[in-house]
Amino acid sequence: MSHYEAPIREPLVLGDKSYHDITEDIARPIEGKANKNWYMAFYISLAAMLWGFGCIFYTVGTGIGVWGLSKNIGWAWDITNFVWWVGIGHAGTLISAVLLLFRQKWRMAINRSAEAMTIFAVFQAGLFPIIHMGRPWNGYWVLPIPNQFGSLWVNFNSPLLWDVFAISTYLSVSLVFWWTGLLPDFATIRDRAVKPFQKKIYALVSFGWSGRAKDWQRFEEVSLVLAGLATPLVLSVHTIVSFDFATSINPGWHSTIFPPYFVAGAIFSGFAMVQTLLGIMRKVTNMEAYITRMHIEYMNIVIILTGGIVAVAYATEFFIAWYTGSPYEYYTYLSIGAETGPYGWAFWSLLICNIFTPQLLWIKKIRRSFIWSFIISIVINIGMWFERFDIIAIVLSKGHLPSTWWRFEPTFVDVGIFIGTIGFFFVLFLLYARTFPVIPIAEMKTILKSSGEGYKKRREQGIPTKPTVVLAEKKIIEVDSTDKKDKK
């Protein structure tokens, strides 16, 4: 887009990489064999997943009563995990869509994995609305399909129904957006494949992409339109999830700030998860040249920003709970009553993990440190789980009537299903990392000449990088519109 880049911008591709190097580096994990560590991680995840599936079958076979829910606390770990997973999924769309609209070049190294994370996280989230039903086999009744009951339809007034539409649309659009971006990269893998079976598979999934100028033009337009659609989608999906609570009349749930505050929290937790995953991935797949310290720092800055927004929302919730003058607001998840009540530990875990710890990222040394970023990102993931747990369980534990006050204790099945979804997530992510180009090859090539370290250095020293056009005022401007055709 722009043909000039300010010299003070740091390089986004380290080393003196060429187009061929990019292809080689990104294709290597797909073309090579998995090592022992990968298998170990895979089997552990698989075991967790199978254990989780066992717990799910046990729940469905025996009844929801095997969970720790009661007649007063009808939602706890199930919906907590649901919102947590949906929230994690949001960073993927944010990185691929919102950062595209804001023309952030650094997103290119991380968007593929972030979108994969979105899709796998939405899979996990999608399990909970079904398995927390008392009669999941009647789950299809949530769909407005003509039927033999005199065409008995759903009531469109329930945010739980909006959830069905929101999550399914979100998954479909994210999947299409992700797959469209994958076409040129799958084509690259196809063209390099030596084994006939591999060639056949990648030929199938790349839909005959041949990279003509017209295709690229359409490809960019589609990406932009999808980014423009995915941005309101990502905001509306978590908004609708927040409506599950905010449309109610429970003190602590009924709060108008929930829609934007949930979205900010989703980006906050989603970026933390991307940070966790990429922190490991850049090491084990040798992508250090592409996922650089700069990327980690930028992600940390987004975390500070969204964490700050969440902090302002917490403060607002706390303030308005008091400002309402309603005595019922005294026991909401962010109130003096919660701070000192039986769930005080959950209240303080929330503040320590989400508000206090991320403030360390204001320090540049910590923000640019891989290990610190990794640790803080895990703390945030825990904190954001507590946020949802606090909102749901603390509020339900002390409702309007004191005779309904109750304390929630999870059972092993609650915990087992959650562990199962974490296992399932990693099974999918590990398989993805071995079979998909984890960094968009084609997109990286579009920024190599403007933001590659080698090119930047040469420009600084005044060595022309071919091909160049010398203009009347002796300014050197690169021609990079033909770049995409160069790749093999």
């Binding site: 887009m1 722009s2 043909h3 000039y4 880049e5 300010a6 010299p7 003070i8 911008r9 609209l101 960019e220 309101p232 905001l235 509306s236 908004t239 409506f243 905010a246 449309t247 109610s248 009349i249 009924h254 709060s255 108008t256 700030i257 929930f258 829609p259 934007p260 700050g308 927004i309 302002v312 929302a313 403060a315 607002t316 919730e317 303030f319 308005i320 400002y323 309402t324 003058g325 203009l471 300014k475 401007i477």
Partner: protein, 468 residues
């Protein structure tokens, strides 16, 4: 260099004078005693049929309000009480008319400042050529802040008006007729000294950053110190954004939500922010288009206009999102203490309330979704005028029901307020723009900004200096 033409200067002075006359008329035509108010009411009642129905609606609403008061331990639904109520509302009208325009212009200047700080913090490459335009607009923060301080003092210290109903005598006194237990329960936050001091502190903080960044932005031009000044400005902007986020939220509670002291909404601060942000972006686009047409902005091309229009479009949708979130959640749960807010607006301000949605959402989304349209100045101007009108109405609808109730209208006092502040805006902004070089030479991203070209935008009518 740009020269603030004497024609424009005179025009702005005329606007100030005409506006002041309109404001003065508003104060003179407000009733000065209860008797006068009763006369005015009688006069109103004798008007034609259409007015009759309007008055009928009003009365219904007043009765409702009085019924509410009864619950709080107040007496009487007598006509005297009603007349006194209307008297206060009529007396508030010139104040509210002035306050709406003041808040609108103050908020726009503040949000331009915040957007500018965000551009610095984001190290954005496209907007550097617009920095001086944004800085010039923030110059309007100074006079509007001074007037705001006067308004704050006249409301709280001198008690010249009843805009903030909780400032009435006896609100916090249990022995008084006027005692309001709900407000008294919030006296930790809602109290006159706290409110006054907070308001002045917000204004001081914002103006301090604006003063600092303007001075150091000009210093950046000639600094040549290895981007030391640039980095200092970056850090100051980061700190300002944190301060802004906190003060903006509290400001909206104090200055707008406090007009309806029984009502509350957690989203409110961000809703006000969105409304002012769209208006601020529109004003940046307007001033940019005007100055470019005068040849005062050499680096600005159609792509910059396109980006500004994209922001106008995007944040119009964002405003609608927040409006809907707040409205729908209150409508859905229908908890009486929250619903009164929208009931008052929907009953007495139906036309502005609904037309604002069309102007702030439907119109911009239809007009500005086309990529080609976004770089055509007159299209952006038309879209922007509707957006600005819509957001003025938005603030009007936020303020009026709480201060003048059924006595709201758009007449000379309101128009006078708008013209008065428009005149001040033109005068301060263009004289500030004149004082510095229109190109921020020292900014490391200047060249990126001058070369900025959004990929599918044709730059019309530009010379050979533009390469792509």
């Amino acid at each position: 260099m740009y020269q603030f033409s004497s024609k424009l200067k005179i025009a702005s002075l005329i606007l100030i004078v005409v506006g002041a006359l309109g404001i003065g008329y508003g104060f003179l035509s407000a009733p000065s005693s209860l008797e006068e108010a009763k006369e005015m009411m009688a006069h109103q009642a004798s008007h034609g049929d259409s007015h009759d129905t309007a008055n009928h609606d009003n009365k219904d609403n007043h009765e409702q309000k009085h019924a509410n008061k009864e619950v709080h331990g107040h007496d009487a639904n007598s006509t005297d009480k009603h007349a006194e109520h209307v008297y206060h509302q009529l007396k508030n009208r010139p104040w509210s008319a002035f306050y709406v325009a003041l808040f609108f212009f103050l908020g726009i200047s503040l949000l331009v400042l915040a957007f500018y700080a965000a551009q610095r913090v984001a190290q954005s490459g496209w907007s550097v050529v617009l920095f001086r335009v944004m800085e010039a607009i923030t110059a309007n923060l100074v006079p509007t802040s001074i007037i705001m301080v006067l308004v704050i003092l006249s409301a709280s210290v001198f008690h010249w008006n009843h805009m903030f109903s909780w400032m009435a005598e006896g609100t916090f006194d249990p022995t008084s007729d006027n005692y309001d237990a709900i407000v008294d329960g919030k006296s930790w936050w809602i109290n006159i000294p706290g409110w006054t001091i907070r308001g002045i502190v917000y204004l001081l903080l914002w103006n301090a950053y604006r003063w600092f960044i303007r001075k150091n932005s000009i210093a950046e031009d000639t600094a040549n110190d290895g981007y030391k000044t640039y980095k200092k400005n970056y850090n100051a902007s980061v700190i300002f954004l944190v301060v802004f986020m906190l003060t903006e939220t509290m400001m909206s509670w104090d200055w707008i939500m406090g007009l309806d002291p029984h009502w509350f909404s957690t989203l409110f601060g961000w809703y006000v922010l969105a409304s002012l942000l769209v208006s601020a972006l529109t004003v940046i686009a307007f001033v940019t288009i005007y100055l470019r047409s005068k040849g005062a902005l050499p680096g600005v091309n159609d792509s910059h206009i396109h980006d500004l229009a994209k922001f106008m479009f995007g944040f119009s949708v964002f405003w609608t999102y927040l409006w809907f979130a707040q409205f729908m959640l209150i409508w859905y749960a229908n908890i009486p203490e929250e619903t009164t807010y929208f009931a008052a607006r929907f009953n007495e301000y139906k036309l502005p309330f609904l037309s604002m949605l069309v102007m702030n959402f439907v119109f911009p989304i239809l007009l500005l979704i086309n990529s080609d349209f976004k770089s055509i100045p007159w299209f952006v101007i038309i879209g922007g005028l509707v957006i600005l009108g819509g957001h003025y109405i938005d603030i009007y609808v936020m303020v009026m029901p709480g201060t003048v109730g059924g006595q709201g209208a758009f007449g000379l006092p309101e128009l006078g307020g708008l013209l008065f502040f428009l005149g001040i805006f033109i005068y301060t902004v263009f004289s500030a723009f004149e004082k510095a070089s229109p190109v921020p030479k020292g900014n490391p991203f200047l060249e990126e900004s001058e070369h900025f070209h959004y990929y599918n935008i044709e730059h019309r009518g530009e010379g050979s200096e533009d390469h792509h």
